[in-house]
């Protein structure tokens, strides 16, 4: 066991670097890197890692950081990078290309409020703007979750049935800069866990193809259809790689969703990232009072775990979704997804459960227990769903 007190950034840098090193017997590792608060420590970690067969390219922008990863992945290397907030917005065009080129790029994304106003605190609006960019997205709730998911991400991304880029998201500062005890992987373990990276469509002069030229609508449609099929395979393939993780590391890495005291729950609170950790405590308080409540943490956002969510919410009458993000004109993004997933489906009592959205910690405010208790109280007395409620506004 290699227990260390490290930050989320350190955990991400460590796991991704070991993953890169693990590809030394294949075509090596390449990272395009560019700093932005609060992820900078990740790319610093990667920059000082003594790769046997790797190159870290310190570029002039996030757009180029992803560009380097794309070029390297198309030439068969294992590739990864990190970014945050406006850096992700600047990178956006190439983020999309990585997915449409079906490249297994892994990116650690530290969720930071999009500016203006300039604000470095946690808000998921940055990575959620990529919800339709065909990346697999995980939202982690702890440093250990980051360390382990960053490794799982490579197995999943590079699986020939998937071949999609994977984003490993964590809350700014609450995870990125807070030190926690983490069991860090060893190189020997990562070497066993990660097979050599194979990009089957990598460039090869014996087979001179043009990647990314023009295509007619019908061919484009076929490519999107293949992408959709790969996305649909993610939940099952993820389970295989979680099982392999257990074998190599002797511990579990959380999957698509995490259920907490949902058995017999009448009311379920849905959250992601670190908000879920606060929710767990509040659920315990409620349970101690005899209230039948539970929590579901959504870790896998893309593809959205519809099936799992329906199973977990089967007995619930009311569902609250806590969003640390805000899509202007609609509300919380997880709430929309939860509603869409449950639409047309009926719970145990034959009714569509009430789904209410709560905007918690938008712009990086702390989602402390009193705020969560207000959510609990509101849901308890609520008889119909309404507009999303803004929480944590000081009078």
């Amino acid at each position: 066991m290699n227990m260390q007190l490290v930050t989320g950034n350190h955990a991400a840098g460590h796991s991704m670097s070991l993953a890169g090193e693990a590809n030394r017997a294949a075509r090596g590792a390449v990272c395009g890197i560019y700093p932005i608060t609060p992820q900078t420590e990740i790319v610093e970690y990667v920059a000082r890692f003594p790769f046997t067969k790797g190159r870290v390219v310190p570029v002039e922008s996030e757009h180029s950081a992803m560009g380097v990863c794309i070029g390297a992945a198309l030439n068969g290397a294992r590739t990864f990078t990190a970014s945050s907030s406006n850096g992700l917005a600047y990178m956006a065009e190439n983020v999309m290309v990585a997915a449409f080129y079906r490249l297994p790029v892994v990116m650690a994304a530290v969720n930071r409020t999009l500016g203006p106003p300039w604000n470095i605190w946690a808000d998921q609006g940055d990575t959620l703007m990529f919800r339709d960019f065909a990346w697999v997205q995980f939202y982690c709730d702890s440093n250990q979750d980051v360390a382990d998911t960053a490794l799982l991400a490579f197995r999943l991304a590079e699986d020939p049935r998937i071949l999609l880029p994977v984003m490993v998201c964590m809350d700014a500062f609450i995870v990125s800069h807070t030190a926690m005890e983490v069991e860090l992987a060893s190189q020997e373990q990562v070497d066993r866990y990660l097979p050599p990276c194979v990009v089957p469509h990598r460039i090869d002069e014996r087979r001179p193809v043009t990647i990314g030229g023009m295509a007619l609508p019908q061919d484009t449609l076929s490519q999107r259809l293949e992408l959709d099929e790969a996305m649909r395979r993610v939940p099952d393939v993820l389970e295989e790689h979680r099982a392999a993780f257990r074998e190599v590391f002797g511990r579990d890495v959380s999957g698509a969703v995490e259920a907490y005291r949902t058995e017999d729950a009448e009311r379920i609170f849905v959250a992601s990232g670190t908000v879920a950790t606060t929710l767990r405590d509040v659920v315990d308080e409620c349970r101690a009072r005899g209230e039948r409540v539970g929590m579901v943490r959504i870790k896998l956002f893309r593809p959205f775990p519809r099936r799992e969510l329906r199973e977990l919410c089967a007995g619930a009458q009311k569902i609250a979704v806590l969003d640390r993000n805000y899509a202007a004109g609609t509300g919380g993004i997880f709430c929309q997804e939860v509603r869409a997933s449950l639409q047309g489906w009926h719970g145990a009592d034959g009714n569509f459960p009430l789904v209410q959205g709560y905007l918690t910690g938008v712009g990086g405010g702390d989602v402390i227990p009193p705020i969560v208790r207000e959510v609990v109280a509101d849901l308890a007395r609520r008889e119909a769903a309404g507009e999303p409620l803004w929480m944590g506004i000081e009078a």
């Binding site: 002039e60 070029g71 030439n75 001179p208």
Partner: protein, 297 residues
Amino acid sequence: MNTAVAEVRLDDCLLRPGNTNCGGCGMSVGLTMLGRALAGEHYSMVIPACCGIVAAGMYPTTSYNVPVVASTFASAPAFAAGVAAVNALNPAADGRPEHVICWAGDGGTYDIGMATLSAAAERNENLLYICYDNEIYGNTGGQRSSATPAAARTTTTPRGKGEGKKDIIGIMAAHRVPYAATLSIAHPDDFREKIRKALGIRGFRFFLIHAPCPTGWKTEPAESIELVRLAVRSGVFPLYEVVDGVEYRINAEPDGTDPAEYFGRQKRFGGGAVDLEALGRAVADRNRRLQQLAKMT
């Protein structure tokens, strides 16, 4: 005259027969000359949004005989840096170099790709960056770029461009790149020699090809080669090279041809408002400066 074409082996064609490029396209001739200069070499290309990627044709076919990666508009040097990094980590079985070539238009080079280009040059990435400069956004129907020369009419400068053209070789030289040079498709021997020379140099190598676009320049397709020949002879497009950003060498001295001959053949410089004398003076000033730089070497 056709014997030279008959001798070319299809395998050596970078741009294969059957592509749909316009007649008189300077870029297409440039690609053919590049392919001949690189025959037998290991190489792949990265092409951003520009006529160069349209030239590949429609999926699943391609006109290119080497691996090509299409990059986003501003990203060719970044994508290429990634490709080159993996090449460096994985030497070819025969031990020979695997070149990575960026093939980009002036929009992707002078304008939207400038930051990416500058950064790749500053890092001295092991790339051959070739800008085929048709002095216009040709792909989108002929809008101004910062490579469009003064007085040229485009769809976004309908009364003629008020500003001059960026000195891209000067910009690259200021990065102290190991090698930067201009190429003309009217000077195939010089073209080939300089490409071959660059292959022997490691690091960032930059080329600028004067690439006529009959559609945008409002010229006769059959006159494309003659036009760029005039550009060299009159000093409008001097052929020169810069080693390590400081050693200037002029490869073909202007022969005193009046630049007006070059400008006068193109309808983009038509319309009566063009001050040919001023254009000629600007050309002469630039060449005097270039000669001074060459003398200092």
